[in-house]
Symmetry: C2
Subunit: 237 residues, 2 copies
């Protein structure tokens, strides 16, 4: 019945892998917002016809990661500032109230798992944005993996990926060491709350991480386009 050829995985597995690969390239900004993907190029790279690529593009369009335009190509969606603000506002609400949604007790190996992410961050070459994205994404995936409720987990993870893309784009203009240090501190606190079995505190810690990232993002965006903005106009929704 089952014929698991080890060297040639079945089509289903291969297509899932292809989907993950392309999505990963969007999430790590190898395909930055606004860039154009072409079916033919990817088909040639992966040695398949356009058909399976088309199916993946359709899915990524449904997930709001691509915008397919007839005769042009598939453009990676841009993140408008007002949409980014909506996402942050909503993410912070979810984080604040996610305490009761965590598994209880936390998995015994959780502290060392998160310690691993911190170690990987320390070994990072300054400026390696793709590798940083990979670690950052893996960290938040593990973090939301502690959430028991399927929808609370998936919505938080989806919105993280949407905002992380926009955030990483601006990282070259930020202070690398400061950013790394900030994320390491957050992971430290994550480990602290896990060891204390304090899910509510963990949720609030996530909220603070989102706020910090947003602050960095807003500062940078403000520095770029409007250097003489008055403080009274800085209020947000």
């Amino acid at each position: 019945m089952a014929k698991p050829k080890p060297d040639q995985p079945d089509a289903q597995t291969r297509n899932d892998l292809l989907y993950d690969t392309i999505r990963e390239r969007i999430f790590t900004n190898r395909y930055p917002p606004g860039s154009t993907l072409r079916e033919g190029e990817l088909a040639e790279e992966f040695g398949v016809s356009r058909s399976p690529i088309r199916r993946i593009f359709a899915k990524l369009e449904e997930a709001r990661l691509l915008e397919i335009k007839h005769g042009v190509g598939a453009q990676v969606t841009e993140i408008r500032p007002d949409v980014y603000n909506d996402a942050c506002e909503f993410r912070m609400l979810l984080a604040i109230h996610s305490g009761p949604f965590f598994v209880s007790p936390f998995p015994p190996d959780a502290p060392e798992v998160f310690q691993g992410f911190k170690d990987k961050l320390r070994e990072l070459t300054p400026g390696d944005l793709v590798r940083f994205s990979e670690i950052n994404n893996a960290y938040f995936t593990a973090l939301t993996g502690l959430i028991r409720n399927r929808y609370m987990r998936e919505v938080q993870l989806t919105l993280f990926f949407e905002t992380a893309r926009a955030w990483i784009i601006q990282m070259p203009d930020m202070d690398w060491d400061k950013t790394i240090a900030m994320l390491c501190d957050e992971i430290d606190e994550t480990i602290f709350f896990i060891k204390r079995e304090d899910p509510v505190g963990l949720g609030l810690n996530i909220r603070n991480g989102i706020f910090s990232a947003k602050t960095l993002f807003d500062q940078d965006a403000a520095d770029e386009e409007d250097q003489q903005g008055h403080w009274s106009e800085q209020r947000r929704i």
Copy 2:
């Protein structure tokens, strides 16, 4: 440049319409959970080839409404009870905290719009589940349309559609008049809170509606499969 043939809409519009049509049939349970859709049949019905249908199926699979199986067909996703509970728990959390996310002030014509839904419910033929679904879906779409934040709005609407399908399935076993009356009362209170410009109250009203629906659903599910269940075993997660 633009050539808007009125009788033959362009392909983009036609495909969007096709997508909406098929999705609507899932949401109104014309394609109930577990049923199988075939590309060929739909292609023939709409007078197109399998290609555009395939693209729509891929999107609906990404939206977790279909499960495509090679050599079999596309099955409408079933709603497992534990997933339904997760959805309700998460929806109630969102509703409770959605007060500050509403537009302010409410649109002036909102009360009469919702009054319209109540009138349509009253004119309903008992047992017409498809029409009831249409009205119910339109009501909640209008309700979440009052939400300012894009993500709070879309997540609430998406989860409503997921749970409403499971709920409508069990409606034949419920008391029709009682269910209609309950929904009418909810709409009455919705109008009340809108007129009073009380968004927090409106959010709590939505939460209560979700709880009521869940209660009906749980009662019915319990009556069906376990008639001698003891009260102490009725506790849920």
